[in-house]
Amino acid sequence: MDFVKFFARRLGRLLLTVFIISTLVFFVVRVIPGDPALIIAGMDASPEDVQAIRVKLGTDKPLLSQYLVWLSSIARFDFGTTLISGEPVIKLIMERFPLTLTLALLGISIGIFVAVPLGVMSAVKRWSLWDYFGLVFSQLGMAIPSFWLGMLLLILFAVKIRILPLFGADTPAHFILPAVSLGFARAAIILRMARASMIEELSKEYIITARAKGLTERMVKYKHALKNGLLPVITVTGIQFGYMLGGAIIVEQVFSMPGLGRLFLFGIYQRDFTLIQGGVIFVAIIFSLVNFLADILYSIVNPKIRVE
């Protein structure tokens, strides 16, 4: 019962977020100087042509009715057609999304499988060699920009040693380097969180109870502390994953991968309002959705959150 209520509350919050973002995007795009109709029509167009385009775009109508039309189309996942090519925005996004999703999944997997064990070990064996290694690893991961790491990896593995392909996204091998360069930075953040959270849990009172029960240290740490210690890690991982699903503009650029990031970058270069607008909404929806899922997962691991 608690769970159903919690689920409904979080779902409501998700819808509210998407609604607020849609509204913000709508008004921001309208406030920014520059009439899309003028841009499409070009410098030399006659006022009649411009007006005809306005009618086609619907920008001749009052703001409020434009807003309502906008909301109803968002609800139907209809983000309009691009100004430049006239293709539906959602089609372009969906063409690019699988690549971005793959990259994000690979990146977050690297983040989780490297960072969680390392972070937990760092906390359990605090100030040991493990811990110093973990700290150095996370410092580097946060300090080194992903694209720079990407370029170094390219130089090493695609130019000097030549065991991995240089550009593109044609084979699985193409994904290795971008995933590593994205995953490294995520791993750094997740590691920090895992370490800090485990250290905190290990100092809680229920750890004394667990020891007083005669449990082995292994059970005390990897059962009692870990289940609580992983909770903030779930949240952070969800947020990181959400970020990556919005596309990794610079890393995609470095590796010439046709993902969402490059699509949106292209839209910005071309001043393609509907593409930019659709992109922002899409990223916002995906981001909220991932956080929603992370919250649900969190509540499964820690049912206490459901009533708070």
């Binding site: 809680k204 009172e205 229920y206 004394i208 109870t209 667990a210 020891r211 007083a212 029960k213 005669g214 449990l215 082995t216 059970m219 059962k223 009692h224 289940k227 609580n228 691991v301 820690n302 049912p303 206490k304 009533v307």
Partner: protein, 329 residues
Amino acid sequence: MADAKELLKVENLGVCFIHGTMEAHALRGIDLSFYEKEIHGLVGESGSGKTVTSTCIMGLLPSPPGEITSGRILFENENLLELSQGQMRSYRGRKIAMVFQEPSKYLNPAFKIGEQITEMLRLHLDMNKEKARERAKELLGLVGLGKDGRVLDSYPHELSGGMKQRAMIAIAISCNPRFLIADEPTTALDVTLQLQILRLIKELKDLLGMGVLFISHDLGVVKEVADRVSVIYAGRIVESSTKGTLFDKPLHPYTKLLMLSIPDAHRRGQRLATIPGRVPDADATPSGCAFHPRCPLADDRCKSENPELRGNEDGHKVACHHAGESWNI
């Protein structure tokens, strides 16, 4: 009570906490005896060494900074202080169990009550999953949490404070321990619940034949539950006796002052007595009798000479140069 079997004995236990070059003597040689089917109340103010005593018995004294400087803890012909951590683990939870002050903090929020009970049964008594669950259900019935086992599938946050403490007790008694330490088990509860929990501990003590160390800062609570009472002050036992004798005829001025600070219906309208000052820090224990700066009877001898804990013929022990003397309040 004289024929009761001795279960656990603390002899001359000394504990010191070392912080850099500072040494804090938390326990300065205490002796305590615990008998089967007997609740031994240990009373003292915060910082007097009650919890350090229980941590030592459990073998959970954090070291560093804690260090046991002297003494023995005898249980079933073994000196617990000489056991390895691995050997000690087979005593903890199995033969010596503990109930803590704040059940909401001392229960793991991420596990169901059932899991928190059965993991002990499976570890210590080698039960399989079904048998452990059956036994856990019985235990919940025993502590008054219903016979239908509904609480097994509850998380701690779904229970009230009193229920949580009952669950904590169910965990502690799950393996039929010989000895139970209850560290201020009612302090975090409402007064009405306190009495219920105290009764429960008494009942379980008789049912399972356990010896119980009952730690409290509240002499009123100890009067309710204990059979024998020891008063601890600044890391030393200052008075120890059966409950009747101690409450009828307290000999140590500290014990008398503690009793005067219990609210009593017969003294309605009078101001409650308070003891001036506070327990000295363990790194700055006064010379002589540690209580002398706060004691109404203190003289020069008390400042220089530490009184020993001496017993009279009926086993009433006291450590005071002026034992039994009275003064004008």
